[in-house]
């Protein structure tokens, strides 16, 4: 069981549980520790965090919890969430792993925008900071969303290298010009965080739309000079289908939120151009 959190849906704003009541359940020792952290911090910051659990009484209705965390320079949204979880409430749930913007686990909806928690500085945000799960995806629990649909779309574009022919001799590499590598370089930076898909209005309305990340993956291979022309045609057929590149209305929301600065919208337009070229016939 899960619930869908719509971007435009008005969620009950009033936190049903204040920090004080979260803190009330803590041991005295823990309370003292938090108080000391707060007292010695440069300043404190309030987080309003979306909470939901499909099986726990009192959490089945989505709500926001408030946590006051100590702030120090350089602190990120992920650091703040970890503090809230480890000090106030160990049931606070979110994905995270590398802490350095490469594993793509912690794409969140922070103050109304898709961002990676680990590379978003608290100091750059308006307070209080509102943290929600990625919109347009089923919420599994708290800030964790179901990524399966995203993965399915990624895998739908046959996301693997398929060269025309491999060089003879086991230790012979395929040559690739530095220019061609440059052309696909940005597309290979994708970390599968799902921020782009979540920000895309088209994906929100058309569940079958491949979405910016999957199309970008297709671009990575379609533009690689080492794949042959027949393979390229097959790749273009996949992306020019009804729920492919032509759905994109160039709103640039995916490009704006991409934490790896991949020019997603441009890549989608490039594949539109390639598709047209591919379909032109001269009599």
């Amino acid at each position: 069981m899960s619930t869908q959190l719509e971007q435009e849906t008005e969620i009950e704003e009033e936190p049903t549980e204040s920090r004080e009541s979260v803190a009330e359940r803590l041991s005295e020792k823990r309370r003292e520790q938090i108080q000391e952290d707060l007292d010695t911090a440069e300043k404190t910051i309030q987080l309003k965090v979306f909470r939901y659990d499909p099986e726990i009484e009192g959490k089945m209705e989505p709500r926001f919890d408030s946590f006051t965390v100590p702030f120090h320079k350089g602190m990120t949204v992920l650091d703040a969430l970890i503090y809230a979880r480890d000090r106030y409430d160990s049931s606070l749930t979110f994905r995270h792993s590398c802490r350095q913007a490469v594993c793509g686990s912690d794409a969140l909806f922070v103050n109304g925008q898709q961002r990676l928690g680990c590379k978003t500085q608290l100091g750059d945000l308006e307070h209080p900071i509102r943290i929600e799960p990625l919109p347009h995806q089923d919420v599994v629990k708290d800030l964790v969303v179901d990524m399966q649909h995203f993965y399915d779309q990624m895998e739908a574009v046959e996301p693997y290298f398929d060269p025309d022919e491999l060089p003879e001799g086991e230790l012979e590499e395929q040559r690739q010009t530095p220019e061609n590598r440059e052309k696909v370089k940005l597309s290979t930076r994708c970390i599968w965080c799902g921020a782009c898909m979540s920000s895309c209005n088209i994906a929100a309305g058309d569940n079958e739309y491949l979405g910016p990340a999957a199309i970008n993956k297709a671009y990575r291979f379609a533009m690689d000079e080492r794949e042959g022309t027949d393979r390229k045609k097959e790749r273009l057929r996949i992306v020019e289908q009804e729920h492919g590149v032509w759905r994109c209305q160039t709103q640039f929301s995916c490009t704006e939120v991409c934490p790896k600065d991949i020019p997603l919208t441009e890549h989608i337009q490039a594949l539109k151009r390639e598709s047209i070229k591919n379909n032109l016939k001269f009599w």
Partner: protein, 609 residues
């Protein structure tokens, strides 16, 4: 129960490579990982992949550099096998479409790296691990290899014969993080552990939060010894506030280290008169901390890494990712100012004892990648040698588990390889505490038919999960922080006897606290409180093994520096530190280093750069 020929636990570089190899050998293989494969920490590797590709280079030179880098604690058969096979693995990756950085003629670029006699580090920008991980995951998708993602393997199904060499592994127990289901993964041909590092035993680390040494701890408790655990690499260039890694590639491209007095200390204070910044990682880390300890650091904490003189174009071409990391995680613009750096835990040279086919002494149990110790890194790993290691030995383990005939291994494993008993004066009793039947703490399995054995392991894990969820108790974060803090304070770059003993006392205290651990979140849905609680026990076991090894080894070799013993002592210490769980009462012993290689016998020399 899920059934496959081969089960690979962990889906980072080693796991993916093993799965592909097993699949190519015809096995029905599945990957089981607590993360989706692309979330694995291999993706954070920056610098590169060493392989002797150039005609003027040779596998023999690569092997020699690796042996020298290991400070003569690597086993020659492992190192030779590695150096010979690394080129074909790199070319294989290239054939799979890995976006390597290229030369003008379209060939794969290679750059200099610390401790290498030839520029043999292939790379893809400063994001080599990211590209390696994604390229291999693409191949897994292409082959339709089954992936159980966000399934956390918590226990191995291993028989309980007295001698670990008689034991057999028939599978593993997993916990589905999304739903709370506990189930068995039956493996008719083998379980390959590829769970990565254990950096979470320290609090300043480049490792991911998920790197809790799960494989090392599970194998150790199931009877496979762990080897050379005291050898922990501290990377010299990590950002002070987060531990985020700044690639050795920066120094490879010409980056310079300065102390607070703007001296190029690697040369000016004589730490490495030939190689300077590109000396081996252990040498540079100690140099930086010496500068700081002698009052020549910056803010008494770090030194500066300057790459401004390389110019914007070269930096953007080869090190662009570094600019983003310095900006996002330290607020520093690397084009405009030097970057603050200090040593941080980075890599575990030791791990589960395996031979060059990836086999542990427990039949059917394999390990590959950072969680394993074959041993090729010995007491210090060279930069750019971890990624080719996971390719070479991941591939070999996968192939062997799938039934390939690879001949007799040259590296012996298990208690029968013991050459000498070990002992330490530990201030506390290490190992298990209290009731061995306690479901939260016990791990062993009864001898039975393979299916029954797995089913009983599943039952025990169900019981453990239920108990943890139902009882109130200490929060895991408190226990884990205690371990991390004492390890970073006491078993760091510089090690003193009294400090290591203090760490052992603190770890014991953490273990006692863990007896009373409880999970506050009662939910079966995505319960990270439970996952972190189970992981914390693994963190304790890893930390304890590191500290025991550190106290035992009375010499200075590679990454292991002891205040009382300022020299490498080859007459006594050319041997691996082995620790077996021994059903809860850890047993320390040694086995000899093998210096006899395929072409030559390596003679230990003074290691200078």
């Amino acid at each position: 129960m899920y059934q496959h020929d081969v089960i690979v636990v962990g889906a980072g570089g080693a796991g993916l490579r093993a799965a592909i190899a097993a699949h190519e050998e015809g096995a029905d293989v599945a990957l089981v990982s607590k993360l989706h494969p692309v979330r694995s920490h291999t993706g954070a590797a920056e610098g590169g992949i060493n392989a002797a590709l150039h005609p003027e280079d040779s596998w023999e030179l690569h092997a020699y550099d690796t042996m020298k880098g290991s400070d003569y604690l690597g086993d020659a058969p492992a190192i030779d096998t590695f150096a010979k096979q690394a080129p074909e693995e790199v070319i294989q990756l290239e054939h799979w479409g890995m976006p390597f950085s290229r030369e003008e003629d379209g060939t794969v670029s290679q750059r200099p790296f610390g401790g290498l006699s030839h520029p043999r580090t292939t790379y893809a920008g400063a994001e080599t691990g990211h590209h390696l991980l994604h390229t291999m995951y693409e191949q897994v998708v292409k082959r339709g290899i089954e992936v159980y993602e966000e399934w956390y393997v918590t226990r191995l199904a291993v028989t309980d014969h007295d001698n670990p060499e008689d034991r057999e592994c028939y599978g593993a127990v997993g916990y589905d993080i999304k739903t709370g289901e506990v189930n068995g993964f039956y493996a008719s041909d083998g379980v390959i552990l590829a769970t990565g590092g254990n950096g979470q035993a320290f609090d300043h680390t480049t490792n991911a939060i998920a790197n809790t040494g799960d494989g090392q701890a599970m194998a150790y408790r199931a009877g496979a010894p762990v080897e050379d655990m005291e050898f922990v690499q501290f990377h010299p260039t990590t950002l002070p506030s987060t531990g985020v890694l700044i690639s050795e590639g920066v120094r490879g491209e010409g980056g310079i280290l300065y102390n607070g007095e703007e001296e190029r200390f690697m040369f000016e204070h004589g730490y490495a008169n030939n190689e300077g910044e590109l000396a081996s990682r252990d040498v540079v880390s100690r140099a930086e901390l010496t500068e700081v300890n002698e009052g020549r650091g910056i803010n008494d904490e770090y030194v500066h890494l300057d790459m401004r003189h390389l110019g914007e174009e070269r930096i953007l071409d080869r090190l662009e990712n570094i600019l983003h990391l310095a900006e996002d995680f330290e607020g520093v613009d690397g084009l405009d100012e030097p970057m603050p750096v200090k040593p941080g835990q980075h890599y575990q040279m030791g791990g589960i004892e395996v031979n060059e086919h990836g086999e542990t002494c427990v039949s059917g149990l394999y390990a590959a990648g950072e969680c394993a110790c074959v041993s090729m890194h010995g007491s210090n790993r060279l930069g750019g040698n971890a990624l080719p290691e996971l390719l070479v030995f991941g591939s070999r383990a996968g192939k062997h588990a799938a039934g390939a005939d690879m001949g007799d291994p040259e590296i012996p494993t298990g208690p029968s390889a013991e050459s000498e008993d070990g002992a330490i004066e530990s201030p506390v009793e290490p190992g298990t505490i209290g009731d061995r039947a306690d479901p939260v703490l016990s791990d062993g399995g009864a001898v039975a038919s393979p299916e029954e054995l797995l089913e009983s392991a599943v039952e025990k894990e169900r019981e453990r999960v239920d108990t943890l969820l139902e009882r109130d108790g200490v929060n895991h974060a408190e226990v884990r922080e205690k371990v991390q803090k004492t390890m970073t304070e006491n078993v760091n770059v510089f090690r003193e006897e009294s400090n290591i003993k203090q760490a052992l006392r603190d770890i014991r205290e953490a273990r006692e606290q863990y007896q009373h651990v409880g999970v506050a979140d009662a939910s079966r849905t995505y319960n990270t409180d439970l996952i972190h609680t189970i992981e914390t026990r693994n963190v304790i076991d890893n930390a304890e093994a590191i500290a025991i090894g550190a106290l035992a080894r009375e010499e200075f070799r590679g990454a292991h520096w002891r205040q009382q013993y300022q020299e490498r002592r080859d007459d006594e210490w050319l041997k691996h530190t082995m620790l077996s769980w021994n059903d809860g009462t850890p047993n320390l012993y040694y086995k000899p280093v093998i210096l006899e290689g395929h072409e030559q016998t390596y003679e230990p020399k003074v290691r200078s750069y």
